[in-house]
Amino acid sequence: MSDDLYQQAITTLAKAATGAGKLEHPDACETVDNPLCGDRVTMDVELTDNRIARLAHDVRGCLLCRAAASAIGSRAPGRTAGEIVQVRAGLQAMLKLCTVDPIDGWPELTAFQPVAAHKSRHDCVLLPFEALIRALDRAAY
């Protein structure tokens, strides 16, 4: 049911907006657009020893996009780029292959399972991850 998309968990996550804002001295800052809907995510990151020390996101997007960014805000600090890539892979599998395994250490992502049925919304959820991974790539240089 499409209705499930807007279950309490997602709404709460989006409204918490954990990590929303800007960093003063980011190691990298990347902006990614979804040309199909005009949505845009900007992600600032600071690394320490190849781990995310701090991050901040600025989202102009839908509830799903904001919820995903908020999950990143609470779970990404302390992780390596490799770990984030793995989390994205798990999320992609959840959306595209309809897997139902929870993603280790990111329990709130389970709330995105109903999005699998709505292909046009997959990118909304993935956009913040895309922005974060690009920022991490950039910061690594």
Binding site: S2, D3, Y6, T11, C37, G38, D39, R60, L64, C65
Partner: protein
């Protein structure tokens, strides 16, 4: 006449039928693509199963039947618009039609010439002119948009200069529903020796129009928004103007004589129809035109207007809902775009979908217009004669639900 009965019209559209679950789609995405009545589908099936062949270059009976049907489609569209068939160029849609003018007329323009559009145009009537301006060093100017979402015609004096060669405007906006009064535009153009192109994509599904009375030189529209297949559209051009323009796409059917050194071109409309045309879709368009012509448009227009009023009234009861466009019923069509404070249009239309309401959310290929109103997108309900009060009520209920859940 009896009261207009949208259900009787709806019964002609297979996709709008009530399903086994007792539900049916409240289809309010007509400005994106309208649905197709059985009569149009039947015309396409008849072509594919009894007349299918390539046109124009064959004498066997199927080729002759296909050619007659294709030429007949051109004649039917011309008749509906009150023009002669030599001004009707079949294209793949509005976008292709506008690009055709941008290239063919564009070839006759020089650096410093000006093209005037407006801030509310669909990308299909912005990007071709930007690309042309870049190719040939032209200047692109835009008429501003009023707070009511209409093109500000008081700016014509200022924006249309002696250098203006073309004014290209939406006859009706796909976001605000505002209908342009073409008379002052045509007058301003004439005073400067400029041409006028009207993008009729949104106007054409809402009933007959007297094309020649508009005073424009070119008129573009798409079949899929007027109950016909996707992949067919029309560029109407004043025949004398078309005859003076160079071709755009090259290929079979648009030539007179080809040698490896030199090619001469056919007269319009064939000059602008390179290659095998979308034959079945053109035949579908003719059937759609016949279908439209069979409606009582006085009643249908009244009906659409009443439903538009019902939407606008209902919206005023939803806190945080703002209409982009005219708030009244004058000078507008049944296209209403709403911004819901704090809610993203994709979330809104997703929630509307759970109410079986099909609405479009996003920028509707009109980013500059949304920027003008300081938003990234809106949620749009757009009407066709098959829509009824129940569709509108479902939309309003869904919107209220979205407002409650997304805030």
């Amino acid at each position: 006449m009896a009261r207009f009965d949208p259900a009787a019209i709806r019964a002609q559209f297979p996709i709008l039928a009530t399903g086994p679950d007792g539900k049916r789609v409240h289809y309010l995405d007509n400005a994106a693509s309208a649905q197709m009545p059985q009569a149009v589908l039947d015309a396409v099936i008849r072509f594919e199963t009894t007349q299918r062949a390539n046109v124009h270059r064959g004498v066997h009976r199927l080729a002759e039947a296909a050619t007659n049907a294709y030429d007949g489609a051109r004649a039917a569209v011309a008749r509906y618009l009150g023009v002669t068939p030599d001004g009707i160029v079949f294209t793949s849609g509005t976008t292709a039609a506008i690009n055709t003018v941008a290239h063919a007329l564009g070839e006759t323009l020089s650096a410093g010439d000006e093209i005037v559009i407006s801030e509310l145009e669909h990308h299909g009537n912005i990007v071709p002119w930007q690309m042309l301006a870049q190719r040939r060093g032209l200047v692109l100017r835009a008429l501003p948009v009023t707070a009511e979402g209409t093109i500000d015609l008081t700016a014509l004096d200022r924006v249309v200069t002696k250098k203006c060669r073309l004014i290209a405007l939406a006859h009706a906006s796909n976001v605000t529903g505002a209908v342009l009064d073409p008379a002052p535009v045509a007058a301003a153009a004439r005073a400067m020796g400029a041409r006028v192109l009207l993008d009729g994509a949104q106007r054409i599904p809402h009933g007959p129009l007297d094309l020649l009375a508009l005073g424009c030189d070119f008129y573009a529209f798409s079949g899929h928004k007027m109950f016909a297949p996707h992949g067919i559209g029309v560029l109407w051009g004043r025949p004398d103007l078309l005859a003076a323009l160079p071709p755009f796409l090259g290929g079979g059917g648009m030539i007179e004589q080809v040698t490896l050194e030199r090619t001469t071109y056919a007269t319009p409309p064939r000059r602008f129809e390179a290659g095998t045309p979308p034959i079945g879709a053109a035949i579908g368009l003719a059937a759609a035109v016949d279908w439209i012509a069979g409606l009582d448009w006085q009643a249908a227009t009244e009906h659409e207007k009443r439903l538009t009023g019902r939407i606008l009234d209902g919206l005023s009861a939803i806190t945080g809902a703002h209409v982009i466009g005219p708030t009244g019923l004058q000078g507008r069509l049944g296209v209403v775009s709403v911004v819901l404070d704090g809610a993203h249009p994709h979330d809104v239309s997703q929630i509307l979908d759970t109410h079986n309401v099909a609405c479009r959310g996003g920028h509707h290929c009109a980013q500059p217009l949304h920027a003008r109103f300081g938003v990234n997108g809106s949620t749009r309900a757009s009407l066709a004669p098959y829509n009824g009060d129940d569709d509108v009520d479902a939309f309003l209920a869904g919107l209220a639900d979205a407002a409650a859940r997304l805030r």
